[in-house]
């Protein structure tokens, strides 16, 4: 193959790729600041530990410490207080907004705690020494609002294995976590909760036998196997909204509403060429928002 042929192949592989709206720079900066803060705290702890080692070492050397008492209680460092940036602070968890009937709110909270613990214990750096991508950085489970808890595989086992959890913290960062036989892990980073008033891009991604993520920067994916499950969610900027409908796959459903968020999930049986259409209404039934009017990218592609 000539160099030009290879270039043609690579360019062709990218053809039709839709870069979407680009990065959410606000979310990136927010996470970056948290990571910097975390690194500073870690460095502070390391420095303190080094000083303690030096002091302890010299004390041991001089025989000044009684080491028979064993280690003292572990100290923890609380994360720096954070402020909500335009997102309603989730109230102390009163149960998921959407809960699969096979499970209880207690199951969901237990899974959330596991997810937080799992990520708190995760190595701060990756195998290559880079900082690990922060997930579930808010350590207090009460600071999260669970938007969804339910199975991500068709027939979850008798325990909560095979379940997925979608939670949003007080800054509007959504984290998605699902379990595996060897422990809890976050399947992907969903970034900030989309604002309903923002122009919505053209479609969402799909996945067979799994939840479909609200990937707002994507056109429909090819040849998914049907049926597949999708989810979409957002926040309600307009407090007057008492009803939100989501139209997708030829069906319109009412979204679940709570604490300033809406959430909807469903199953597609055939390909779609547009994003879910979101509409919100006030108590008198007046249309407050229609995503098809929000911008060209929100309109159906065909």
């Amino acid at each position: 193959m000539s160099d030009d042929e290879v270039r043609d192949v690579l360019v062709l592989a990218l053809e039709g790729d839709d870069p979407g709206l680009g990065p959410d720079i606000g979310a990136l900066l927010s996470k970056g600041r948290r990571l910097r803060r975390r690194n500073r705290i870690r460095k502070g702890i390391a420095a303190a530990a080094a000083v303690a080692c030096l002091v302890g070492g010299s004390a041991w050397f001089t025989g000044a410490f009684d080491t028979s008492a064993g280690p003292g209680p572990a100290t923890s460092v609380s994360p720096a207080p954070r402020t909500a940036s335009g997102v309603p602070v989730p109230e102390a968890s009163s149960g998921p907004l959407v809960l699969d009937p096979a499970f209880t709110a207690g199951d969901a909270r237990g899974v959330l705690v596991n997810c937080i613990d799992h990520h708190a214990k995760a190595a701060p750096t990756t195998a290559s020494g880079d900082p690990a991508y922060p997930r579930f950085t808010e350590r207090d489970p009460d600071k999260y609002r669970i938007l969804y808890f339910g199975p991500f595989i068709p027939n979850p086992g008798p325990t909560t294995w095979g379940t997925a959890l979608l939670a949003v913290d007080s800054e509007g960062n959504a984290d998605y976590c699902r379990n595996s036989p060897d422990g809890w892990y976050s399947a992907r980073d969903i970034r900030r909760v989309p604002d309903q008033s923002a122009a919505r891009p053209a479609a969402m991604s799909v996945a067979r036998n799994d939840l479909c993520y609200p990937d707002l920067a994507k056109r429909p994916q090819p040849s998914p196997e049907f049926p597949f499950r999708w989810l979409d969610f957002g926040r309600l900027p307009d407090p007057k909204a008492v009803r939100v409908t989501v139209e997708y796959g030829g069906k319109t459903q009412d979204a679940a509403l709570s604490h300033g968020f809406w959430f909807a999930a469903g199953e597609l049986v055939r390909p779609e060429t547009y994003t879910p259409i979101i509409r919100s209404y006030d108590a008198d039934g007046r249309l407050l928002y229609d995503s098809t009017q929000a911008g060209p990218r929100s309109r159906p592609l065909s």
Binding site: L10, L35, P131, S180, N209, D210
Partner: protein, 192 residues
């Protein structure tokens, strides 16, 4: 003390503005490179985000402005190649994510060609694919590619040769033959 804090805050604000502008400029390029290497748009964006996050943390210490994009690319490559080694990335749990995108108004042969090359690329081992993308899509020379992938120039050359062989074999397995590539080029020309 308060002056120092104010200066730091002011510097932080400048940093953020500069970083935001930098992200706006490099995001599309980094995303395309990452997408070619991993084949999955979401994973590509995650890797770019992770790489940029790493860059943001180091931003105040970075002095060589002309090297910023190279730093970013290296961070993204690390994230991509590192992500591939994570156990949960290997796990599927019944999920089979689609590997390419379909634009509804594409002609069927365009879609067919694109799916063929996407699958062929996916069949090339990831490290070799990264070398091919950096060499032939990003137009980097052997030395720059070696620096980004933290390997020797000899490794880059051997990975290039192996990657080209693997890509060719994979294209043939997808039904490609010597006459087909010109039709791809024509399809590209038609699309442009």
């Amino acid at each position: 003390m308060s002056e120092k804090r104010a200066a730091r805050r002011s510097r932080g604000g400048t940093d953020d503005a500069e970083f935001s502008e930098f992200v706006r400029i490099v995001w599309p390029r980094l995303r395309r490179t990452a997408l070619l290497i991993c084949g999955n748009p979401q994973q590509a964006e995650d890797a770019v985000q992770a790489g940029l996050l790493k860059l943001y943390v180091a931003w105040p210490r970075l002095k060589h402005v002309e090297m910023l994009e190279a730093y970013a690319k290296k961070a993204v490559l690390n994230a991509l190649l590192d992500e591939a080694r994570r156990p949960w990335r290997r796990e599927r749990s019944g999920t089979d994510l689609p590997d390419t995108q379909v634009v509804p108004y594409d002609a069927p042969e365009q879609v067919e060609n694109r799916i063929a090359v996407t699958r062929a690329l996916a069949a090339v081992p990831k490290r070799q694919r990264a070398v091919l993308v950096l060499r032939f899509y990003d137009d980097l020379d052997v030395a720059e590619t070696a620096r980004l992938l933290a390997c020797s120039t000899g490794t880059v050359k051997s990975q290039t040769a192996r990657g080209l062989g693997a890509l060719r074999a994979a294209l043939i397995a997808q039904g490609w033959n010597e006459e087909r590539l010109p039709s791809m080029a024509a399809a590209l020309g038609g699309a442009a």
